[in-house]
């Protein structure tokens, strides 16, 4: 049995009368990259904050690295690196000064040398004296990650670390994260990007404070029970509008020159597709695989319905 880095049960948190996280349980094995997905305001940030001791859960309990999240926050803070969604290093300190501050707070043996090493590792040697606030978005993220891993944490909590970062920087960022995981660090990372979700070992999908699906990417797609047809041909926009009203079709989404037509009930979906084929023979229909995005949008729609009811 694998060692468990995060093990929490029934986490619940409300702000005022609004329940932000509801009865959330999570088990993250050590050394794994665990993706945390969900729409804006779904409770991802709140969950991460509860894990690192920044918020106290209203209900639920559990451990992070074996430390109790309710009573041992001090130990958790010492061994967990938390990277905030918004850049939260000091904009008016230079790169070196920020890193030295972090090193000193964590009691690293030689703060100057540790900061210097981190700067070299980040490839920022020429810019050590530049103010952190003057860095571009991508470099800010790298610096923030550098500051997070400087005290050698065993667990990283990354809150949308690549929001607003260009694809190349994102790629490098993920290479780094995989490198860290290979060294045995556990990473819990929240994201909006589907390609990033697919780079994770395991996923959890959360919407409106509730955990809706978890497992590997393939498991999540498989569990959803979704079937998909891919359509190409003329006037896809018109076709999409028309298809949305048919019974058995839950979702129609354009992907470039194709439409993804999906439904939860494969038999009803097939019937609807047959009917559509008969009415207009000008399109080419092929069976496809639902993407993670299809699954997540469907999941989100289904919860929204529950909430409206």
């Amino acid at each position: 049995m694998k060692e468990i880095a995060i093990d929490v049960h029934g986490l619940t948190k409300s702000f005022g009368s609004r329940v932000v996280v509801r009865d959330l349980s999570l088990k993250v094995p050590k050394g794994e990259i665990y993706g945390f997905l969900g729409p804006n305001g779904s409770g991802k940030t709140t969950t991460l904050r509860m894990l690192c001791g920044l918020l106290t859960p209203d209900a639920g309990d559990g451990t992070c690295l074996g430390y109790d999240i309710l009573t041992q926050q001090e130990e958790i803070k010492r061994h967990v690196g938390y990277m905030t969604q918004r850049f939260s290093l000091y904009a008016d300190l230079s790169i070196r000064e920020n890193l030295e501050f972090v090193a000193r707070v964590y009691g690293v043996a030689n703060p100057r040398r540790a900061a210097k090493a981190a700067i070299d590792r980040l490839g920022l040697s020429g810019r050590a004296e530049q103010l952190a606030g003057e860095l571009s978005g991508g470099w800010k993220q790298r610096l923030a990650l550098g500051a997070c891993i400087l005290p050698n944490p065993k667990l990283l909590l990354l809150d949308e670390p690549t929001a607003g970062v260009d694809p190349k920087a994102r790629r490098e960022f993920w290479d780094e994260i995989h490198g860290l995981a290979a060294d045995g660090i556990t990473v819990l990372v929240s994201t909006h990007y589907m390609d990033e979700a697919e780079r994770c070992h395991e996923l959890a999908y959360i919407a409106f404070g509730e955990l809706l699906a978890k497992g590997t990417a393939a498991q999540v797609v498989g569990q959803s029970g979704l079937s998909t047809w891919i359509v190409s041909g003329p006037n896809l926009h018109g076709l999409a509008i028309e298809l949305r009203n048919r019974d058995g079709i839950d979702m129609v989404a354009p992907f470039g020159a194709e439409l993804h037509v999906s439904g939860r009930d494969s038999r009803a979906l097939d019937a609807a597709v047959e009917a559509a084929k008969k009415e207009d023979g000008s399109h080419r229909w092929t069976r496809g695989e639902p993407s993670l995005e299809d699954v997540f949008i469907l999941l989100m729609d289904s919860v929204k319905d529950n909430f409206a009811a």
Binding site: R49, L54, L55, T71, F87, Y90, L93, V105, G107
Partner: protein, 389 residues
């Protein structure tokens, strides 16, 4: 649960990281302070600006003060007295009046700062040795402006009369002074000039110290840096000390500027011990920093923090004895004054500089400041939010 908190308490007590983390905070704050040019400029310029502004007002040797004259006697002695006053450059006769009521009006309106009234038989009475009364009325609501002039009058008039009475009336001169100088101060409670500069030290420190730390926590929250700071293994007390300590040094610089200016530019004496003055001023600065830090934990943003400091600053200025004589205030105002740190510092700083007081005479005020410091820090730690809840 209790076992866990027990363990926590134990690890906090014997924690070797305390100094390291506090030092980390101090270094960070210093760098930020140095980099924030505006704040840095304020630290130095507020005391200088205040000194120049107040220094102008407390010009200890003001000249050409507007003076009204009422003479009921026109003899050579009267003329000699008036000429002497005029030649001294302290007084400038701007109005010749006939009615005492006119004098009152001009003093009240501020048209003149002095009035001189020479009685009807001034010359005759002097020559008869009757010691007539020469009345000098001063508008002492601005005691600083009138102080030196008042102290000069007696001498001036004496000299003038001596010169005039030489010869046949030598005998009168010998019994000098041949007249009574009756001095009327409007606003007898008036402060002396020296009270203001030492008081200014307290006012400047209150304002700047409180303002700097009042922004300390709210700024971190507004800039979003509090989130990662709280996620780090640093304790509230370490953050607090780390944020207060650098500003104690700033207070030191301000103290040096003001005390040297007071002594060398305005000639305020320092009768007591300078090390004691420095030590107690540092205590006072720390107390204000702690108050500011407390505000910082109460306010939700920087604007609120600034408003809170002003709310606290005003009674400090008005009720501490800086502006109005403390004992002249109604009792309720004195009670409020007693709980303000500036009140106690006023007594300390004036006591040391002007009266040469030592620690023994001021231990109640020192105790009050220390108590204030401890209470403010305790309150700040209670108010400090360890989480984002």
């Amino acid at each position: 649960m209790s076992e866990a908190s027990d363990k926590q308490a134990k690890s906090q007590r014997g924690d070797p990281g305390f100094l390291k983390r506090t030092w980390a905070m101090v270094v960070k704050e210093f760098v930020q302070m140095r980099r924030d040019r505006m704040t840095f400029a304020t630290m130095i310029f507020i005391p200088i600006l205040q000194l120049v502004l107040f220094g102008y007002a407390i010009n200890t040797d003001p000249k050409h003060l507007p003076t009204a004259v009422l003479t009921r006697d026109d003899g050579p002695l009267t003329r000699a007295v008036l000429t002497a006053m005029k030649n001294s450059d302290y007084f400038e006769f701007v109005a010749q009046v006939r009615d005492p009521a006119e004098i009152d009006r001009m003093l009240a309106s501020g048209e003149v700062q002095f009035a001189v009234e020479v009685p009807a038989s001034f010359e005759r009475d002097i020559r008869r040795g009757d010691r007539p009364s020469l009345l000098v009325i001063a508008d002492a609501t601005d005691p600083v402006a009138t102080g030196t002039a008042i102290s000069a009058v007696q001498g001036l008039v004496d000299t003038a009369l001596k010169r005039e009475l030489r010869g046949p009336d030598d005998s009168i001169e010998a019994r000098a002074p041949p007249f009574k100088l009756t001095l009327q101060r409007r606003n007898p409670e008036g402060l002396t000039q020296y009270n203001i500069v030492p008081g200014l030290l307290g006012v400047v420190l209150t304002m700047t110290m409180m303002m700097f730390t009042a922004l300390a926590v709210t700024r971190e929250i507004e800039r979003g840096t509090m989130e990662s700071l709280l996620a780090m293994p640093i304790k509230p007390v370490e953050i607090m000390i780390g944020k207060i300590a650098p500003f104690v040094l700033v207070g030191f610089v301000q103290m040096a500027i003001i005390i040297s200016a007071a002594h060398f530019m305005f000639g305020v004496p320092i009768l007591g011990s300078v090390p004691l003055l420095i030590a107690l001023t540092t205590l006072f600065a720390a107390a204000n920093l702690a108050v500011g830090y407390t505000f910082s934990t109460i306010a939700e943003n920087q604007l609120q923090a600034v408003q809170l400091t002003f709310f606290f600053f005003l009674p400090n200025i008005l009720l501490s004895g800086f502006m109005f004589p403390f004992r002249g205030m109604p009792h309720w105002a004195q009670w409020i004054g007693e709980v303000l740190p500036l009140t106690h510092f006023m007594r300390i700083v004036r006591g040391i500089m002007l009266k040469g007081n030592g620690f023994a005479e001021m231990r109640i005020d020192v105790l009050a400041l220390a108590l204030f410091l401890v209470v403010a820090m305790g309150l700040a730690l209670l108010r400090f939010r360890r989480t984002l809840d």
